[in-house]
Symmetry: C2
Subunit: 344 residues, 2 copies
């Protein structure tokens, strides 16, 4: 490309017939201008091939306005939904997000984080479980984790314990004879473990017959189908004629169970009540609308970004990061649908 | 934080008992070292609180190793899957990705792109439809679009036309009396339009009775349910006793139709054959496994990153970007499952 004269605010003002003050406002507080004016200036910038250079500014003050995000995967819609909401905060805070999919590769995740540090990211949001919070804390940058082990770092989590209780209470309220929770073997240090203890405590307090089934689920859809088929065969033998209330650790698993029962009986038999977890889009799209303990994805995302932004501000103002990590807890929301309430 | 002495390769070598050459190799070609050595060095870097500063390097040579990605949304799993695969190329190419969710807000998308340009990103991958390829081309940076209007920029698209033909051929092969394609009103300039023309041409060539139904789908799940219910009522009246082969524009829509039929009949009636598009996880998780025209998401993602990386290299070597955009076309893959083949 041929070298070009650098475009200034003056040039943009002349081209658009706006004042220089208006052009400056466009860059610093665009929403203070009418939409039409924004459009005109925006198009002028493209036509004039205007290029701002922020790299020099970074070097001067270390403010990259980058935040790193580490997600474990994007298959479960909880993760893609949270990511979606985090990215959408660009409108509010102006931070740009560097995203990495961890896929349980510890070394690769570590190398990525180190690279991000080299690029002077200002903060980090971590949803993957790979690296311990003790190690993350050593990075000494503004950080928040979501729904993972968080002992040494700030975090935002759903109140999973209450979520587990709500699921059990819903099933108990429909006169289930036995309450069953299906989950993968879960580390007691992660927030999601609360789903198990909440469910269990509620059942114990009320003296309800209940079972916890830990199986190797969430590895593949075909694997989950086989595991759930086996569980249903077993339950139907052991609890013949009894009403079974089943709480599954996520919506995809609950939807797989619904499909299995529908294929077997052409409908959801009256002696089954099913509830999932997450209230992800999967719960509305299931063969029948699925009751679910909802995580408030939008609040999880906004609180996490807010936590990081607060820490960034504190640092800029020369205040030290808090020694004790802040842990924010978001209420779960029980959503009752056809899988427990029947057709309405 | 107290000021710290800058950590050098010497310090890392001493701490780990590796040579300085090994430490240097760790940074420039980590996979040339044994995994165990990588782990030891990686942990040492954390312990020593090593911080590389790449910002100075950017200022010197303009190489940020950042690529921007613009996705329209992450609700349809086609987009979250493509994003997942693009992000995973970090292992191969080392580029870091700045991700933005467009959500059809043109001004916001434009401002975001301009910000990315200011941070000297090296390339851009665009999946959103918001900004015309003519405007994108003016940015004059290495770029590839995926499945969107691409006249003036490099792109990677599925051969949608062949996909539409494959869907029609599959349904025709099962002796359907009438072939129906359900889609939203589609802009002829986007690649997905080929699904419509491919389907139509196949039907015309073979003299098959067929219909194109354009409805305002893909806005909300509840809206889609209502629209599909109306279509099914209408089809059952007009084609009583005839076998209906239905090709839907994406898997979520096809799964919604399957659910509707299952709830009405307790099974998929013999006079329906259903095929979706994308072969996203939704097609395997549907009430019965859904036949689908698969997009090769992994290849779309890799070819797009490859195209951008090629252009970045060309630019570094002082070669001009090609004046004629390169358009790569990826074959669709027909996946036959129970929704057309019956239970096996």
């Amino acid at each position: 490309m041929e070298p070009k004269k650098k475009i200034t605010f003056d040039d943009i003002a002349k081209y658009t017939n706006f004042s220089k003050t208006t052009i400056s406002r466009y860059f610093n507080d665009p929403d203070s201008l009418a939409e039409e004016s924004q459009r005109i200036i925006s198009e002028a910038l493209v036509k004039l091939n205007y290029k701002e250079n922020k790299v020099a500014r970074i070097l001067a003050n270390g403010q990259t306005e980058f935040i790193g995000i580490i997600v474990p995967e994007l298959y479960h819609r909880f993760f893609s939904e949270v990511l979606n909401r985090i990215l959408s905060t660009y409108e509010t805070y102006g931070y740009k997000f560097l995203v990495f999919v961890g896929d349980r590769n510890e070394e690769s995740e570590r190398r990525y984080i180190r690279e991000l540090m080299a690029y002077q990211i200002e903060g980090l949001i971590v949803l993957s479980h790979t690296i311990s919070s003790r190690e993350l804390a050593r990075l000494q940058i503004p950080m928040a984790t979501i729904e993972r082990e968080d002992r040494y770092v700030c975090s935002v989590n759903t109140d999973n314990y209450t979520g587990g209780r709500l699921a059990a209470e819903l099933l108990a309220g429909h006169d289930c004879d036995v309450l069953i929770h299906i989950n993968s073997p879960t580390d007691p240090h992660i927030p999601a473990y609360g789903r198990i203890t909440g469910f269990q405590d509620f059942c114990r307090e009320r003296g309800l017959e209940h079972e916890l089934l830990f199986r190797d689920v969430d590895r593949s859809h075909e694997g989950d189908q086989a595991i759930l088929r086996e569980i249903v065969d077993d339950l139907e033998e052991r609890y013949r004629g009894k009403r079974k209330g089943i709480f599954l650790s996520n919506d995809i698993l609950a939807s797989t169970l619904l499909n299995l029962l529908f294929r077997r009986y052409g409908r959801l038999p009256d002696d089954y009540k099913i509830v999932g977890f997450d209230d992800s889009p999967t719960s509305r799209e299931a063969i029948i609308p699925l009751s679910s303990v909802g995580q408030q994805v939008d609040r999880l995302a906004h609180e996490a970004v807010g936590l990081v932004v607060d820490q960034i501000k504190a640092r800029k103002e020369g205040r030290p990061l808090s020694k004790t990590p802040v842990h924010k807890v978001i209420d779960p929301v029980l959503v009752r649908r056809e899988s427990t309430e029947g057709e309405r």
